[in-house]
């Protein structure tokens, strides 16, 4: 353990205020803040700096530590979520324990969100620096524990992204479990006919990879399987996977005898319902595994009833076994790659396009199957109403994309997909007249523009302006498209034989469940959020979890593969190191204070506290503890010392922030993962809100003890905001339910004491919801404006005893 005494020596603090070019200095008077910092207790050095994170900036800190014997450092710059590791490292290099460093976030939480209020922003920056200086004086050095990493990976989703990641890792020598929900791997790419921009046959380039997965000694392929539970943390995940029975054993030779005799005939999902399949089937010819599968939903044999044995009799190899049971597998892995892909938009809600009402209006995915040689029509372009080759077709772009009515984002692949499809038609049936109705053609990638030119060369007509309506001509089943050619300012009426809706891509239906399993964040669009959009684009915010393919955002095959290889590399780096360190933010019991009440153990989401009533001891299992601090907040006797987020440290931050003008301020407690990150996001997006809020960071909202809130009110704070992840999204399982309980208890107490309870607000906001945080702060201004001195005094008194 760390020598407590060393932390007791007189603090000698160095403070560095960063200009960040003009990012901070453009709004905050940095010189003034620097001058102010030099007046604070224990501050030996206070300097400003153009770019503190640069080599020179770091060197300056290192030199100062050595020359001036500094034993505490504060950097006031960007978010600690961005550069805390950088500066901690610099401290370490200068021989200072990295836990003796603290940051004040005067960019994301200050200069960027108060662009037009220099005076108030400067005032706020001073406050934040003051709080950081107060906290840093109380920080204690610490040494991090190391935990070993299991050298195995779980890949969820067997589309092209999942396949590529699994192969890369397996080839590197790691063991991989590949879990796929469907009966075969392959994903969307297996459904597509050709791929842009090279016009390769999709299944021809995919099938060899699929079969590699099937045969790789390092890959365990689990199809028909779903993740059911995830526990543990980076390096040491324990995952439960439910493997549903296929009712066909590995002895199957894929001879198709069983399918031929099966009496059940239903639409085939793989061919988006355009063809049929039997109850015992293989999704498509190249499926991996090739083993057939029984769809128990439609098979005549229900639970315990054997009504049909046709397939059993037909199978010479006796591979069919209706006694197979679902299995739950428990996997132990060190890293996880999420590659669950995406779904396509369902256009039936757009009534004016008549999808499902008119037979000859189809989606682009249906078209892929139609034109595929392995598809229901044997690759012949036919229209559904009369199976004739259409003389003219129209593509409608942005269906469900870039729209308030569908999804607001661009789906990235549909423009190129349409160009590809139009060329495919032209290749085989050059006389077909093709119209493409669009608002913008986005052909940004390598080789994309060439393809666009080729389509134009072949006579495809591109018309700017989306049809307002598609109507069917009742006799011919042809379709009328009416719209405006917005480049010509003319209305058009075009008659075609078939319409193809270029539907967008949306987050896969499982995204929500996956998000919960790994406490990931999703953007407003529903795609998984990366740890940093530029610099850590395949890392999930949760350690040890990586993202690949359309699960992260809509993208094409090339980008999916690139990202998958990147994710595999990132996971590989972790596993090659063999161990990870865990932050020294776990609690230390203080036996003198402990009354062995056991409350801490009750609220710990990880069962990391063992209460030994007999010996009057409380023990924290360090490897299991995630450091949320909920126990510390619950303990009434100050018997848990929450390292790096101690009661004293947080109290002193509150004191510093409420020293002047307290009644005009909002003291906000934000959890690191959602609310604090959301406030960072507000900064990055330059969302403006009133400058009278002061944010204190904790790892989890569960750490926010009632006494912090009461203390803020007793110091005369105008209002208090407690903000954490949405219920169910907590990064510490369900610790934020404790937050909710605590706040609700306090509201009751405030009511009882006659204190206006709207002065305490609770907000759930994700890392993507900067807007939400800003609007809450705006909303709270009303309470602040209406606040009388008398009310402030009343609360001050009511809570002062605590």
């Amino acid at each position: 353990m760390v020598d407590r005494e060393s932390s007791k020596e007189e603090p000698r603090i160095g403070v560095y205020i960063c200009h960040c070019g003009l990012n901070i200095a453009g709004t905050v008077d940095v010189e003034e803040v620097t001058r102010f910092a030099s007046t604070l207790p224990n501050v030996i050095i206070s300097k400003d700096n153009r770019y503190t994170c640069s080599d020179q900036g770091q060197q300056l800190i290192k030199n100062d530590i050595k020359e001036n014997n500094l034993n505490r450092i504060v950097v006031a710059s960007c978010s600690p979520r961005l550069h805390e590791p950088t500066f901690r490292k610099a401290c370490e290099e200068a021989g200072l324990n990295k836990y003796l460093f603290e940051m004040a976030n005067i960019r994301e939480h200050c200069s960027w969100v108060h662009l037009n209020d220099k005076i108030e922003a400067t005032q706020k920056a001073k406050d934040l620096v003051k709080a950081a200086v107060a906290k840093v004086a109380l920080l204690e050095p610490a040494i991090e524990a190391e935990v070993p990493i299991t050298r195995k990976t779980l890949v969820i989703g067997g589309g092209i992204a999942g396949i590529q990641a699994a192969l890369d890792l397996a080839d590197t020598g790691y063991e991989v479990y590949l879990v796929e929900r469907e009966a075969s791997i392959g994903g969307r790419m297996a459904q597509i006919d050709k791929t842009f921009p090279t016009m390769d046959c999709s299944i021809c380039i995919l099938a060899p990879k699929m079969s590699d997965v099937g045969h790789h000694p390092n890959i365990t392929l689990l199809t028909n399987s779903e993740v059911k539970e995830v526990r543990g943390y980076i390096g040491n995940f324990k995952v439960k996977v439910l493997k549903k029975p296929r009712y066909v054993t590995d002895d199957c030779s894929a001879c198709n005898e069983c399918s031929e005799v099966c009496p059940v005939n239903i639409p085939n999902e793989f061919d988006v319902g355009l063809a049929t399949r039997r109850a015992i089937y293989t999704p498509f010819a190249q499926a991996v595994p090739s083993t057939y599968v029984v769809d128990k939903e439609v098979c005549l044999n229900k639970e315990g009833i054997m009504a049909c044995d046709k397939c059993i009799i037909a199978c010479e190899r006796q591979a069919i076994n209706f006694d197979m049971e679902p299995e739950t597998l428990e996997l132990e892995v060190g890293t996880i790659i999420v590659a669950t892909g995406a779904d396509v938009y369902d256009p039936s809600a757009l009534l004016n396009y008549g999808y499902t009402r008119y037979l000859n209006v189809i989606t682009s995915l249906e078209f892929e199957r139609l034109i595929n040689a392995g598809g229901p029509s044997g690759g012949s372009l036919i229209r559904p109403s009369d199976m004739k080759i259409p003389e003219s077709v129209a593509f409608i772009q942005c269906v469900g994309s870039r729209s308030e009515k569908g999804n607001p984002y661009c789906s990235n692949v549909c423009c190129m997909n349409t160009i590809k499809d139009s060329l495919l038609i032209k290749e085989h049936w050059p006389r077909v007249q093709i119209y493409v109705f669009y608002v913008d053609m986005r052909t940004f990638g390598k080789g994309f523009e060439d393809l666009y030119r080729r389509a134009k060369e072949k006579g495809v007509i591109f018309i700017r302006g989306l049809p307002a309506e598609v109507v069917e001509e009742r006799k011919t089943r042809n379709l009328w498209l009416t719209g405006e050619n917005t480049l010509q300012n003319k209305l058009y009426k075009v008659n075609v034989d078939m319409v193809i809706l270029s539907v967008g891509i949306q987050p896969c239906q499982d995204s929500e469940a996956i998000q919960r399993f790994f406490t990931l964040s999703r953007t407003n669009d529903g795609f998984f959020m990366e740890a940093h959009p530029k610099l850590r684009p395949v890392d999930a915010p949760t350690g040890g979890v990586f993202l690949a393919g359309c699960a992260e955002s809509p993208k094409d095959i090339k980008d999916s593969v690139t990202q998958a290889s990147a994710a595999a590399a990132r996971a590989g780096i972790l596993m090659a190191q063999g161990k990870v360190t865990v932050e020294a933010i776990t609690p230390k019991p203080i036996p003198e204070n402990c009354r062995v009440c056991g409350l801490c153990a009750q609220v710990c989401p990880y069962n990391a506290i063992i209460v030994d009533k007999e010996n009057k001891l409380v023990e924290v299992i360090e490897a299991a503890c995630a450091g949320c601090g909920t126990c510390g907040a619950e303990c009434q006797f100050g018997a848990l010392h929450m390292r790096h987020f101690t009661d004293d440290q947080i109290m002193t931050q509150i004191d510093a922030l409420t020293e002047d003008d307290a009644s005009k301020k909002i003291i906000a407690f934000c959890c690191n993962w959602c609310a604090y990150a959301g406030a960072d996001f507000a900064g990055v997006s330059r969302i403006q809100y009133p400058p009278n809020v002061r944010i204190i960071r904790t790892m989890c909202s569960g750490r926010i003890s009632s006494k912090f809130i009461e203390h803020a009110l007793s110091r005369g704070a105008g209002a208090v905001l407690v903000a954490g992840c949405h219920p169910g999204d907590c990064h510490y399982i369900g610790a934020n339910y404790q937050t909710k309980k605590r706040v609700e208890r306090l509201w009751k107490k405030m009511e009882r004491l006659g204190v206006n309870k709207s002065r305490l607000q609770l907000l759930w906001a994700s890392a993507a919801e900067g807007e939400r945080i800003a609007s809450k702060i705006n909303e709270m201004q009303v309470t602040l404006k209406g606040l009388t001195t008398k009310e402030v005094e009343k609360a001050r008194e009511a809570f002062s005893d605590n």
Binding site: C398, V439, G465, L466, V471, E473, W480, T486, K493
Partner: protein, 475 residues
């Protein structure tokens, strides 16, 4: 720069920046189709966002007919009519009337039934237009009649029958008469005008304006047979076989749907259209103190407002979905609420309760919205156990109207109370028979009916010319 002009509130300005100029609004807009290139909501919107100040004198602002078809389809959910309204109000405040005056000229030259449209579609009063200027505009629109006032000699011999005298029928009759066809119009009620006469409240359309318009139509030579219900007073086949070479069905949607719940026969449960009709006929209606209106369309809104005007003290609309799904014109919902109509969302009547044969109130379910149904709106699902009671003296039922089509021969295909037509040329499945207006679309707007009438007239002319040519060559 100008983009940040304060003429348009920030929220609207922000949302409107996402207009991708897809052109769906313009292509959906009946006014754009009626006025060809003279009106284009898409480019108007763009121009407004580039320089709103300059657009204050723009005539196009005044040419929007408030049908909200653009809003229903705009991928960005923009409400062009309300954005135009902001500028119109500003223009009036600043005394800039050039745009309005120009617009009136355009309306005079291109829109059939211009006076009716000024009242029922263009609504200059919503922008607080000066009453003197309004009167001047009416004068201007009436000059058209004076200019053209002469009986057209029929240059064609093929007679055309128009069934129904609402805006669709009136328009088709106008246009056909002007082309020189002898037109006879059949109307079941005792006076022509269709829903303009029957359902439209007087405050919205003064009856004098309607009569003037119809009188003018007669001067063009159109014969109007009122109190003649096709199917009762004269059969469809008679018309078809005997005199007429082409028929235009514009019977509107006048058959009210029924709630289909217990207690519908009680005294005090009234049909919305009957109610409006009675009020318009100046017959007495006794509503009592508290009135409930079931439904969420324009008829429900009008009925609720009229109920207030008729002296009801409390009027509550019961709608089974939420505000977003409400099919009524958004602006009129706001106006109704301003007048004091309250709207209860997500409720559906379960049973109408009564005593001694008279209604005492309604038992309702709360609803939840489920998956979208075939109309694309989310289906309301009654929540079991959520029943509650609301006291009412009168219940007005306005849950949708469909066309009365029983008089039509089987050759004219219909679907769920709507006549099926080819929307491009308004042809029904029966040769020589055309249809348009609410009978085809379900309850919609005057301007859409006018457009349908216009398209039908054009198409009927084409059809008759073709038939004649064929006959000529056959001889």
């Amino acid at each position: 720069m100008r983009l940040e002009s304060t003429l348009i509130p920030k929220k609207i300005r922000e949302s409107a920046k996402y207009c991708h100029e897809c052109g769906i609004c313009t292509a959906s807009c009946p006014m754009a189709e009626l006025l060809f290139t003279q009106y284009n909501p898409r480019s108007l919107l763009q121009a407004i966002f580039i320089d709103p100040e300059k657009m204050l004198v723009e005539d196009s602002l005044w040419l929007c007919a408030w049908c909200y078809k653009c809003f229903n389809r705009c991928p960005q959910g923009l409400k062009p009519p309300e954005i135009f309204q902001l500028l119109k109000t500003k223009a009036v405040k600043r005394g800039l009337f050039k745009g309005f005056k120009e617009a009136v000229k355009k309306i005079r030259n291109s829109i059939p039934l211009p006076v009716i449209c000024l009242y029922t579609c263009f609504h200059p009063e919503r922008a607080e237009m000066d009453s003197k200027l309004f009167a001047e505009a009416l004068e201007e629109l009436n000059t058209r009649r004076k200019l053209k006032k002469r009986k057209k000699t029929a240059i064609h011999k093929e007679k055309v029958a128009v069934i129904g005298s609402g805006p669709a029928g009136l328009t088709a009759a106008f246009d056909l008469a002007e082309m020189g066809y002898p037109v006879t119009m059949f109307e079941a009620l005792n006076e022509a005008g269709g829903m303009l006469r029957k359902g439209m409240p007087e405050y919205r359309l003064p009856r004098k304006a309607l009569r003037d318009e119809i009188r003018y139509l007669k001067t063009l030579g159109v014969k109007i047979k009122t109190k003649t219900r096709v199917g009762k007073d004269v059969s469809f086949n008679d018309l078809w076989r005997n005199e007429f070479k082409a028929l235009f069905i514009a019977v509107g949607a006048h058959k009210s749907r029924e709630l289909g719940i217990e207690g519908e026969g009680l005294e005090g449960v009234v049909d919305a259209l009957d109610f409006l009709w009675k009020v318009n006929m100046k017959r007495e209606v006794n509503l009592g103190y508290k009135v409930g209106v079931v439904g969420g369309g324009n008829v429900a809104i009008d009925a609720a407002r009229i109920a207030l005007h008729q002296g009801a003290k409390e009027v509550m609309i019961l709608y089974r979905r939420s505000r977003e799904e409400m099919p009524a014109n958004p602006w009129e919902i706001i106006e109704a609420e301003k007048e004091g109509v309250s709207i209860e969302f997500l409720v559906v009547p379960k049973k109408i309760m009564g005593q001694k044969g008279r209604i005492t109130g309604v038992e309702c379910f709360k609803t939840q919205l489920g998956e979208p149904d075939e109309t694309g709106r989310r289906r309301p699902i009654p929540v079991p156990g959520s029943e509650f009671f609301l006291e009412f003296d009168t219940i007005i039922v306005a849950i949708g109207e469909i066309a009365e089509t029983t008089f039509l021969p089987a050759e004219v295909e219909t679907y769920k109370g709507k006549i099926l037509v080819d929307p491009i040329n308004m042809k029904t499945s029966m040769k020589g028979v055309f249809a348009g207006g609410d009978a085809v679309t379900g309850p919609a707007t005057v301007i859409e009916a006018i457009l349908a009438g216009k398209k039908a007239a054009f198409s009927i002319d084409q059809y008759l010319t073709e038939t004649k040519n064929r006959e000529d060559t056959a001889w």
